[in-house]
């Protein structure tokens, strides 16, 4: 941990990313204190008001406070990112580890299926899945998770392959440890490091993809405050009130950027060549 802190000190971009993320988390947690209104409170008398004293980021077409929508929307967005990556992690790692450890026909079937999933542009597959499940935030999350899962499956398979030939796994097989126990206690536990790095790298793209589905109308449904959906709902007022669409859009950019800055630093951290270089 001390090492990591020291590394962050020398890796300015990573530190900036971490600071941005912490600031964002604080703002989102303190949303009730920072925004005076509910994100869904209508005030038709003050629709499309410019940013000013009462409404720091102005109001949208229904007179809802944009700052409140961005802050409460942030809660959803961060939860979406974590949720999507967790689902993708569980599905991908489970299949990948089983494929790598068991090998043979199981490995072949699972990996051909992974190849097929990777033959789609990820946004297109997510759209097709979300369109068949029906538009809602939950199905959009599931759709994005399914498109992210193959990356985890590939990595987990590689990890399982390299760990499963280690002497301690052979020893465990010899003394008759059950397969599920070997998978969990020996293979997964010893190969989880790179998988966790991949998970942190995926957070940004998970948020970006889910927001894109929201923008296309396949994600969160109104009046739920979600950044992607908020940008698309306000596109038509962009001439007279650009802040309504730009504020949630900028929020997506800053969040994804902070995750990518941290991810870049982490990738350097786990690359011994680069870690020692600095």
């Amino acid at each position: 941990m001390a090492n990591l802190l020291h590394f962050l000190q020398r890796n300015a971009l990573g530190a900036v990313g971490a600071a941005m993320l912490v600031a964002m988390l604080l703002a989102v947690i303190c949303a009730p204190f920072l925004a005076s209104q509910s994100p869904i409170a209508l005030d038709m008398a003050r629709k499309l008001a410019s940013p000013g004293a009462g409404h720091l980021l102005g109001t949208d077409y229904f007179g809802r406070d944009v700052l409140a929508r961005v802050l409460y929307g942030g809660r959803f967005t961060l939860a979406i990112g974590l949720g999507v990556v967790s689902i993708a992690f569980v599905i991908g790692v489970a299949f990948g580890t089983i494929a790598g450890f068991l090998g043979g026909i199981v490995d072949m079937v699972i990996m051909r299926f992974v190849d097929a999933m990777l033959s789609f542009p990820s946004l297109v597959l997510a759209i097709a899945l979300a369109a068949s499940f029906g538009p809602s935030l939950e199905t959009a999350m599931l759709a994005v998770a399914i498109t992210l899962a193959p990356q985890f499956a590939r990595l987990a398979r590689g990890q399982a392959l390299s760990v499963s030939v280690k002497p301690y796994v052979e020893a465990a097989i010899c003394i008759g440890v059950s397969t599920p126990r070997i998978l969990f206690r020996y293979i997964l536990r010893n190969g989880i490091g790179p998988l966790l790095v991949q998970a942190s790298l995926s957070l940004g793209s998970a948020i970006l993809q889910t927001a894109s589905l929201g923008f296309l109308g396949l994600g969160a449904q109104p009046p739920l405050p979600e950044w992607g959906a908020d940008v698309s709902a306000n596109l038509q007022y962009v001439r007279e009130a650009p802040w309504v669409a730009l504020a949630p859009g900028a929020a997506i950019l800053l969040t994804v950027l902070s995750f990518n800055l941290i991810g870049d630093a982490l990738a350097d951290w786990f690359n011994p060549r680069k870690r020692n270089l600095r």
Binding site: D115, A116, V124, I127, G134, L246, L257
Partner: protein, 336 residues
């Protein structure tokens, strides 16, 4: 090389089969009547019946799948629920617009991405390097629809320099030859046509370029830094080669080889990203067609467009593999 090509083509078979199975299953994995779910609330009973007939939901699943494959074999992707036109024809009509946009964006990304990557690598850890790294990170983090919106606001609305939507001005009467607007203008030697088409393509093209150039720049930088630590670079310097020759003949050449893969895969990924860009710029390509289909819950179109995107993706990966093998004999030997 022929053996290598044949091998790659054969390997594509099972994956293509699975891709078709996935696309076929998409509509059918939902519990309940897929026709009702797909059409959503407010669908009339005629629409539900029409979709049920088109998807052949009254037959057992394997029979449905084989009927779907039989249809595909002669280019039948179903009929649009909204217009009643064959999905295949509608997609073919819009393909040139999407390809024109993506190809231009890729070319522009090569012109921008490679030099900034090299510059960043040879000035590694300088102020310039940091600036390029941050800008390219912003490039990969910005949602396509946000960048599109900002460009529209600045160049279309505030400055009024460029049109913000469509592919040509309403007063232009074009006579399509190839379907590629710029190429058509050049073929007809009509300068007005070319300028009009270019002015429309710039903004959507920039949105797609931003992502690809940023990805490419980051990749070239990392590859270049890695390549420059190789033994042959030290040898080249030791024998007194000019630094420029070391950088370009020995460094960049080797760093660019893996970039072929990145450009190919990202080009295919960009076709998917074009859905967002085409939607914001009302660009009449497959992406916007798919977006309209989502709005209208026109399932056969979504299914058909998904297949076309997947096929384009697989075709690009195949081409990338072949080009790579052509450039690097080691790969060719190992694979065949």
């Amino acid at each position: 090389m022929t053996r290598f090509t044949l091998g790659r083509l054969l390997a594509l078979g099972p994956v293509l089969g699975l891709v078709l199975l996935i696309i076929f299953s998409l509509a059918r994995i939902i519990p309940g009547d897929p026709a009702i779910t797909l059409l959503g609330p407010g669908a009339t009973s005629e629409q539900i019946k029409a979709l049920r007939d088109q998807l052949r939901l009254d037959q057992p699943a394997p029979a449905q799948f084989f009927a779907y494959l039989a249809g595909l074999s002669h280019g039948d992707l179903g009929k649009s629920m909204k217009t009643g036109q064959p999905v295949f024809d509608e997609i073919l009509l819009r393909l040139p617009a999407t390809l024109e946009l993506s190809i231009l964006a890729t070319l522009l990304a090569l012109v921008i991405g490679i030099p900034i990557g090299v510059l960043s690598a040879i000035r590694s850890n300088s102020m310039l390097d940091h600036v390029i790294r941050v800008v390219s990170l912003v490039g990969v983090s910005v949602p396509a629809f946000l960048l599109a919106l900002v460009l529209q606001l600045i160049f279309g609305i505030y400055l009024g320099w460029l049109p913000v939507s469509g592919r040509s001005s309403p007063y232009i009467i074009a006579d399509p030859i190839t379907g590629f607007a710029i190429l058509d203008g050049l073929l007809q030697a009509d300068l007005e046509l070319v300028v009009d088409a270019l002015s429309h393509v710039i903004l959507p093209c920039l949105v797609l370029t931003a992502f690809l150039a940023a990805t490419l720049g980051r990749f070239v930088r990392n590859m270049m830094i890695e390549v420059m630590t190789e033994d042959y670079i030290r040898t080249a310097r030791a024998k007194g080669l000019a630094e420029q020759a070391v950088l370009f003949t020995h460094g960049l050449r080797n760093a660019l080889l893996p970039a072929v893969t990145i450009v190919g895969l990202k080009f295919a990924e960009m076709l998917g990203g074009a859905i967002l860009t085409e939607t914001v710029f009302a660009w009449p390509g497959i992406g916007r067609f798919m977006f309209e289909a989502i709005r209208n819950r026109d399932y056969p179109v979504i299914q058909g467009a998904t297949l076309v995107f997947a096929l384009l993706f697989m075709l690009t990966s195949l081409l990338v593999d072949l080009v790579y093998a052509l450039l690097d004999p080691r790969i060719r030997k190992r694979m065949s």
